[in-house]
């Protein structure tokens, strides 16, 4: 039984109202580039266990996007889930799923990315707990 649980961290750039989160984690090396998506190996699953968003400068929505073919010239992503940090309520938002969002790697070309959307571009942070498993 293969299971690799880790947390990716991303930060909005404060200049764009929407873009994909860069993904930082302890197991990822950034010498060449910072990844913006997680490819799902064939036969494996990616589970998203929790999404935490924080920032007190403005509202931020984080959307989970999934594609069946990340190798396409322009991959077609589908929104799977959106979590919204509403500053009128709190400056921290935590969605801790009791049952994770499960996304499968059917061919090995599937991938997931996390996109932020803001009414006004501000800096916000997101931490996402993910697990690769078979």
């Amino acid at each position: 039984m293969v299971s690799e649980l880790f947390t990716v961290y991303g930060k909005t750039d404060g200049a764009s109202i929407t873009d994909d989160l860069p993904l930082y984690a302890d197991i990822i090396d950034y010498t060449i580039a910072t990844p913006e998506h997680l490819r799902i190996p064939r036969g494996m699953k990616l589970k998203i266990w929790a999404i935490r968003v924080n920032g007190n400068l403005g509202d931020t929505a984080v959307t989970v996007n999934y594609t069946h073919d990340v190798t396409a010239g322009i991959p077609v992503y589908i929104a799977i889930n959106t979590d919204i940090l509403d500053n009128a309520v709190d400056s921290r938002f935590s969605d801790d799923y009791r049952k994770p969002i499960i996304l499968r790697g059917f061919t090995g070309d599937e991938a997931v990315k996390f996109t932020w959307t803001q009414p006004v571009a501000v800096v916000a942070n997101a931490e996402i707990d993910v697990e690769y498993c078979d």
Binding site: V2, S3, E4, F6, D26, I27, I28, D29, Y30, T31, I32, P35, H37, L38, R39, P41, R42, M44, V70, T71, G108, A111, Y132, D134
Partner: protein, 287 residues
């Protein structure tokens, strides 16, 4: 963590005075070893560190062509090993026999056997072995398709259990089919066993017939390379014992007796027969 059995402990390593049977599918031969003692009792875990990878090292690519390691110790995204890896010894173990392969020992270490369980983090890394190094062993439909970490099948993600025979070099292969350049670490749980081969044909039959508890390891050897054959001959004087069904028991024991005679005497455990004067050997008087 493993569940202890009659022959193994919580590490999944063979207990002292228990049996370990290594089976080679390509030759259909098995070698039962008796583990006399574990040399590294109390020090079974070796946190090796990162895979031995150097920056700009060339790896094959799942996307075609090649890719390079972005930095020392980092597994490149979408990459698989072009050449199997050996584990160079850690700095404070530099006095090992072979400075390029810490698990390699020559045939005159025949009374030693390494039982190695490798765990790679992140566990989604594809792991495979070449026995001997350079010889891919995962096959489909005899030899029609050669498999491995670079193919759709022929690997295990994150872990491997291996027996290192003296005189046989084993190569480890790895693959990363994610888009992430990955830091990694390898943990070995190993036993350096002091071993012998039982010299009792009946006992060997009972082990191979699974009447006597033994920890079985089937090596992924689909092609019986001459390096393995010659290595086993040099180590033990034999390549192993044939397997027989219960109705062939008498024939099997007869054959095993002749194989036992060829076993190197350094590792042969001679069957001990008590003399009449030995304590506990009570002679019944017939009235």
């Amino acid at each position: 963590m493993s569940y202890p059995s009659k022959t193994t402990d919580s590490f999944g390593l063979v207990e002292d005075n228990s049996y370990l049977t290594v089976f080679i599918p390509a030759s259909q031969l098995a070698i039962p070893f008796r583990v006399l003692a574990r040399h590294n009792r109390g020090g079974e875990v070796l946190n090796y560190g990162a895979l031995p990878i150097t920056a700009a090292e060339t790896w094959g690519s799942y996307d075609g062509g090649t890719t390079t390691a972005p930095a020392d110790d980092v597994i490149p995204s979408r990459g698989f090993t072009n050449t199997a890896k050996s584990f160079t010894p850690p700095v404070d173990m530099s006095t090992v026999y072979d400075s390029s392969d810490m698990w390699y020992i020559p045939y005159d270490f025949r009374e030693r056997l390494f039982h190695v369980k490798m765990e790679v983090t992140p566990s989604l890394i594809r792991c495979g072995v070449q026995i001997p190094k350079g010889q891919n062993q995962q096959r489909f439909q005899r030899d029609r398709a050669v498999l491995g970490v670079d193919k759709i099948s022929g690997f295990n993600r994150g872990s491997l259990e291996m027996i290192h025979f003296p005189e046989v070099r084993i190569g480890y292969t790895f693959g990363n089919d994610t888009n992430l350049d990955l830091f990694n670490t390898v943990k070995f749980t190993y036993g350096e066993y002091m071993i012998g081969i039982p010299g009792d044909a009946e006992l060997i039959y009972n082990i191979l017939d699974k009447r006597v508890p033994s920890h079985w390891v089937t090596l992924p050897i689909a092609t019986y390379d001459s390096a393995v054959k010659v290595g086993l001959q040099k180590d033990y004087g034999i390549e192993g014992f044939n397997m027989y069904s219960p109705e062939e028991r008498r024939y099997a024991i007869e054959e095993y007796q002749s194989v036992i005679e060829k076993i190197n005497k350094d590792i042969l455990i001679v069957k001990k027969v008590p003399t009449d004067s030995s304590p506990g050997n009570v002679i019944r008087r017939v009235r």
